[in-house]
Amino acid sequence: MRNLFERAGEVLLTRRTLLKASAAAGAVAALSGCTREPAAFQSPATDAGVQTFRTACPRNCYDTCGQIATVKDGILRKVDGDPLHGYTRGRLCVKGYTYANRTYSPDRIKYPMVQSPRGSGNWKRVSWDEALTMIADKILDLKKRYGSLLPLALDKYSGNFGIVHYAVEGMLSSMGYHTYALGTPCWPAGLDAQIYDMGAFMNHDPEEMANSKYIIIWGANPAWCAVHQMDIIMEARARGAKVVVIDPIHTATASKADLYIQIKPSTDGALALGMARWIVDHNLHDKAFLEQHVKGWPEFEAYLKQEVTLEWASKITGVPVEAIVELAGGYATTKPSMLWMGYGMQRHINGGQNIRAIDALAAITGQIGVSGGGAQYAHLATWGFNYHAMSFSPPAGSVGLKGPDGKYTNRTVNMNNFAAEIQALKDPPVKMLWIAGRNPGSQDPDAKDIKKAFESMEMVVVVDHFLNHSAEMADIVLPCTTHFESPDVNVAYWHYWMSINERAIKPMFEAKSDLEIAWALSKKLNQLQPGSCTYPTEGNEEEWVGKEFNQGIYDLFGIRDWKALRQKPAKATLPTVSWADRKFTTPSGKYELYSDKAKANGLPPMPTYVREMQAPAEFPFRFLTPHPQHALHSQFQNIPYMMQSNPEPMLEIHPKLAEAKGIKDGDMVRVFNKLGEVRLRARLTRLVPPDTVVTYESWYKDSKFNVNHTVAAIPADMGKLYTGNNGISFHDNFVNIERV
């Protein structure tokens, strides 16, 4: 090998070339600046050892866990439950324990990138400045061409429920009147139902459930989707409570129940009405409560007596009369008795109406405003923040949609019919999408139409952690921080706790929080066209967390300063029993079995039964796609720990149906209807009924799997009142199946 050196000696003759190479290299190295000699030798500042930070899981989930992030030398090592959080009590779910894995996935979006053409997989890395310039240019161009920002549409929802993430809405508002996706795909039919009934939706402190003697879990699966509630349910059981689960699927929750009732999907109202009839027939209704606090009892009683029989209810629901009797008897005689209604149950064309029918059970038995009783659904009573991050008005002179009062407003599209509406809009058409905290590519109904909608845009910007089905169809992806990389504050729509989310690690790569993106885009817009955006152009993220607090929040949570949350999470000092004063906020001030408001909105005034959707002849099976165990929608399932634990989606099929279709365990099955198809492996199980097939929505790594290929955007019956648009009947999805 010595000759190598000698050879290089000869090469001295070509010194010119060599020098050139060295010079080029030196110049390049200086430019790249990847590593540099520190200006002065300083002692390393990063050797901070092990630190812990309070974080809050920001996912769209009942439990909104308090977390402790353990960071060693600036690297997130593990994530545990916060023992001082009174609801989650130091425990996390299977997803929560995978966060270190998720944060350091090499698959994360690292830099702003531009895809041309859209969907080609041909990506170019750009600087934040370039990306923001392209985006700002397009925004200003649209504004110029159409005279307003209405061609720009925002679709943002529940990817991160941290309060500071409302900066996205704030950013759009401060650019001008625009178009945005209004509504929520989750829970709106049930919210409206409770508003018609009681004037508002307000669940008990869920820790209250321990005081109940009879708990009916109606269409909720806390064993997968609210694990901490199971502890409270077990506690109630240990104190002698009976637990009933009513669900079309025999869930893990159902296996913990004293009584499980398998119901035909979407017929819950009929079961509740059958129960009500039995209760009235046996004189177990609370006449005093009905007299004092309920509007419309005579009308409803008449309906029950004329239209409802147990045999009728049994025929519709598939639940034997014997079971209805047992259930009604148990509910009406074992007090306090509690109803908890899940969100899956109201994703039907009669979902809101069914919730109203179940609520009615609590009303006629006087179980509202009672410790250990009530009809639990959700609340937003702890969300009274300033929403400072979205408190900026459009620039002066902005033009938008002219309202009836002559003032300009934003234009809305239905989030739950997003694909169709975004394509149908005219004057002006929608030309640009901003998507953050949302993955319509896999979570919206009719995946094909979503793709078409994306294709009809001039520009699609997706802000996300991973290149999911939506980001794949974007022109520009922007990397955003995880909740370990940006500060925030979180509350829940179920329990009464509030947690601070401290920044635990530096952002990976060039990830920015939604707030930082808002600042940066505002800065760019103002550079290009001064005054075009009212959003602040810089700030301190921690300070902005502080700006969300007000005296009301402080009083509610019994704290003096938000920084106190760094010591421990706080619980709202709300009454633990909702409606204890029976002061309902309905127009009549009473619980309204008869709602004029519902009638005025074109709905049945009473919780009468609205027939469930019937299966068309060519697609005779219902296809349920409820929430998964290993994922939260399209989050989590793609990471290594989850792929090991749950490598592929399975279609749960009853053995009878499988036999009729010649399907064996493990066979590939095609699930299809007019809209599209899904292919996956069969798992034969009697946990699902014979006329229903089940799989769980998720985004698997390197997989095109998407349950929403067969789901049509059929609206639920309610939702408009509170969220602006009706919910989606995700579970009114009918298909046929065949072996591949």
Binding site: T98, D231, Y641
Partner: protein, 186 residues
């Protein structure tokens, strides 16, 4: 004082949420393929279909087979009954993975070694609970001293659990209670 630490798995409370399995991986930064604790489906069929679960890690057996077969003596039993593995000694022969009736020792192709649950001995020594026990949202998993343990209804084995006569595992189960069901496939 004799001592034998072990687990009590209350299957009546277990919801199969896998928090225990994942909390263990989170605590020890285990590779995806290696599960020191695993949650198995329990007796879904026949008769009454249910979703119940077995959560199994190392059972810190009275007569550990792993220790018997290990050619390099990597396994030893502590005074409190914990079966420890000296990971440096392991040569990856995989005899323990074959010999353990419960699949406690897990082989990692990446490390060419086997490893297993040591009942969070360093956490215990620091006065903490094992990570899996700490994580269980349904409080279905507890750390017990079998020399003191007496829970009504607790049993040494359940259907589907391997033959416990071989090693006398330090685990007790409270079997799940099957509720009443009204099903549509009757």
């Amino acid at each position: 004082m004799p001592k034998q630490l072990g687990f009590h798995h209350n299957m009546a409370n277990c919801i199969g949420c896998k928090s225990c399995q994942m909390a263990c991986k989170n605590e020890y930064e285990l590779e995806a393929e290696v599960n020191w604790r695993r949650v198995y489906p329990f007796r879904e069929d026949p008769g009454t279909p249910e979703r119940n679960f077995l959560s199994v890690a190392c059972n810190h057996c009275e007569n550990p087979e792993c220790a018997r077969v290990c050619p390099v003596g990597a396994y030893t039993k502590r005074a409190d009954g914990i079966v420890e593995q000296n990971h440096d000694k392991c040569i990856g022969c995989r005899l323990c993975t074959m010999a353990c009736p419960y699949g406690a020792a897990r082989y990692s192709p990446a490390h060419r070694k086997a490893s297993k649950c040591e009942l969070c001995k360093t956490r215990l020594d620091a006065g903490l609970k094992p990570a899996c026990v700490e994580a269980c949202p349904a409080r279905a998993l507890t750390l017990v001293d079998l020399d003191q343990f007496a829970a009504p209804g607790a049993v040494k084995s359940v259907p589907g659990f391997p033959n416990s006569n071989i090693t006398n595992p330090s685990i007790r189960f409270t079997p799940p209670v099957v509720g009443k069901q009204f099903r549509r496939d009757a």
